[in-house]
Assembly symmetry: C2
Homo-oligomer: 382 residues x 2
């Protein structure tokens, strides 16, 4: 442990890579001839290999869920609030694995990867991947790591959807699904926002139909607009009011190039920051995976039927001010599990932070998550 | 009346133009040396000139609020549900005036107008106009028409804000303010959405800093993205669910150029339709007028103080599923009026249609609006 990093952090971490030469059949009908997955792990795998937890990332996440890549790193991984010694995903007790999803832009095979058939980056030839595809690819990583059964699969938002899909597709391979701030499928409004984000990216002339790598450019302005829009939907109206109100940065400028309100400044900054580290094609793919996620569709549009075969316990958490995936959406999953008399714990956390709350150190949330995981840890003990 | 037009319509209408050679001082500090306003009127002005109603339009509206421009017109004016014989704004009893706002793109002086100083379209040299500027310019039209006092000033959304501003700035010139689906000022979230819309327009390479007229192009893709985003915020989540659900247009395409869901198809169509008849610079101006609207700011941020001097009666209407300007926002205005013991009627209409409800023929809404206007008509009688 490096001294200047917080004591409750996993500290310095490095990434691993797994190369899969076996082809992967995808939902879209295409086959990925080979692929690589990058991942990080925190904590130690026990002798029985029973204490492993898979953490799944959301739209803009990556495999870097906790810790720091160097002592000079200013920001830890995206779920630092929940992963580390003494935290809900306690690295003193669990072995945590987080994988960059296929189609991602942080090292796993994705649109910027060289397509072996053409010798050029995949670009828009990279297949549209689904949550089920990710789960299938992650199961191969579990095989490789000789993890027969996860103690839990956990995630927030799109990550929670992956946890739910794991429970459906591989019922014997996880003991618990931790599904936070998620939904059983997107609403028309959710899809609408995603479509506007994609249109903003595709409208950027530097998008070049997704083949922008060949032109040494990137559709940064379009991606920034998409991200700004996303940000509004991650925050609650109350959170934005508390954070910015209607505060002017100075006087009214009467000029469109200037920034008048704090909220504009914040959104522009978020957009600018984001495009420096994220790939537009990945953003397109992730939003489409969200749109397509709909486990009930395979079961006559009946979520209860879809969840009838699961064998794990489930922890569902929602946040009162989350209007992207509101508590009612978690309750849909709750009802379907109760219809099947499956073991499930549900908590709606009072929180003002909107959808982003799942990343925040909200005491009620952390306590409940920790308590549940404490029981999960008991089961892992030899 | 032309036979094939509905009997409860004002029928065929034509527009008028008023030219103002007197300079207009604007809030931004600039002066508009001359300007033109186009407007339509419906019904007849009585001898005492006491039955005139000013209707103010919202973001994407125009002076064409009711009736048809030709027998082949497929769509009537934007507030056809509320203006016409026997309707709330009853043209058998009232003389209705609707003006295209300064900065508009339907005939009044705006960014596409030739700037007398340069001989070229104003473009981004057109000054950023405010709700107060519009009210001031409309008051000059009232002078010109020799209307000393409006029976009412009425509008929905941004139009309702103009009605409120009229009540503040010219207390003796209106007997009633009809403020529908409005807010006393925008929230940070509202401003955020507007900012994303503007960024989408400015990101379009055909925007040319607002001087696109000189290049014979227009930033249609950016404007379409802005409009698609707007549309999501005009509809409620429930309305979108009822209208589209998650209905696929066919099978999942796994292709970003294709349309998968009905909601995507609808939004793309709305975006495409809109850009054919609307100017991007006007969209920019209208969103900024919304952002800047804040009558309380002139009165120590106290809305009650801001409304202390008004002399008219006020009708406030909100819609339960409107999340753009939610009922709570109308209640803020209500409270400030009650603080001052001003006469006010308030109705929250149960409606699933979201912000767009103010344009819809919702029985409870139409009945209440008609009842109020019936009393207003009584006062106009000689």
């Amino acid at each position: 442990m490096v001294s200047n990093l917080p004591a409750d952090s996993v500290g310095l971490v490095t990434q691993h890579k797994a190369v899969f030469e076996e082809p992967l059949s995808l939902d879209c009908g295409q086959v990925l001839p080979r692929y690589e997955l990058v991942y990080e792990t925190y904590g130690a795998l026990n002798r029985d290999r029973t204490n492993a937890i898979l953490v799944c990332h959301a739209l803009s996440g990556s495999h870097h869920a906790a810790g720091y890549h160097s002592e000079h790193d200013r920001k830890p991984g995206w779920w630092e609030t929940c992963i580390g010694p003494g935290k809900p995903l306690d690295t003193n007790r669990f072995f945590i694995v987080c994988v960059n999803n296929l189609g991602g832009c942080h090292g796993s095979t994705g649109p910027a990867t060289t397509n072996p058939e053409t010798g050029k980056p995949y670009g828009d030839d990279f297949p549209v991947v689904t949550v089920k595809d990710w789960v299938r690819s992650h199961s191969r990583l579990a095989d490789r790591m000789e993890i027969k059964q996860w103690a839990a699969v956990a995630g927030g938002s799109l990550g929670g959807m992956q946890a739910l899909q794991w429970a459906i597709d591989f019922p014997q391979r996880l003991r618990h699904a931790i599904v936070i701030a998620a939904a059983p499928r997107l609403s028309a409004q959710n899809i609408g926002f995603n479509e506007v984000a994609r249109q903003a990216i595709m409208a950027d002339p530097e998008f070049h139909g997704g083949r922008y790598y060949d032109h040494n450019v990137s559709p940064g302005r379009g991606l920034a607009v998409a991200r700004m829009l996303g940000h509004i939907t991650y925050l609650s109206d109350d959170a934005m009011r508390a954070k910015f109100g209607r505060d002017l940065r100075g006087k009214m400028s009467y000029d469109f190039d200037e920034v008048d309100f704090q909220v504009e400044s914040y959104l522009r900054y978020q957009g600018q920051q984001f495009v420096q580290g994220f790939d537009a094609n990945t953003y397109m793919l992730m939003t489409k995976a969200l749109d397509y996620f709909d486990p009930a569709a395979d079961y006559g549009d009946d979520l209860s039927t879809a969840l009838a075969g699961i064998e794990c316990g489930t922890l569902l958490i929602s946040f009162s001010s989350d209007w992207r995936f509101a508590p009612e959406r978690s309750v849909e999953i709750l009802r379907a599990l109760l219809d099947n008399e499956k073991p499930v714990s549900y908590l709606e956390v009072e929180a003002t932070q909107g959808h982003d709350a799942f990343l925040m150190p909200i005491p009620r949330y952390i306590e409940a998550f920790s308590a549940y995981m404490g029981n999960v840890a008991q089961e892992c003990a030899p």
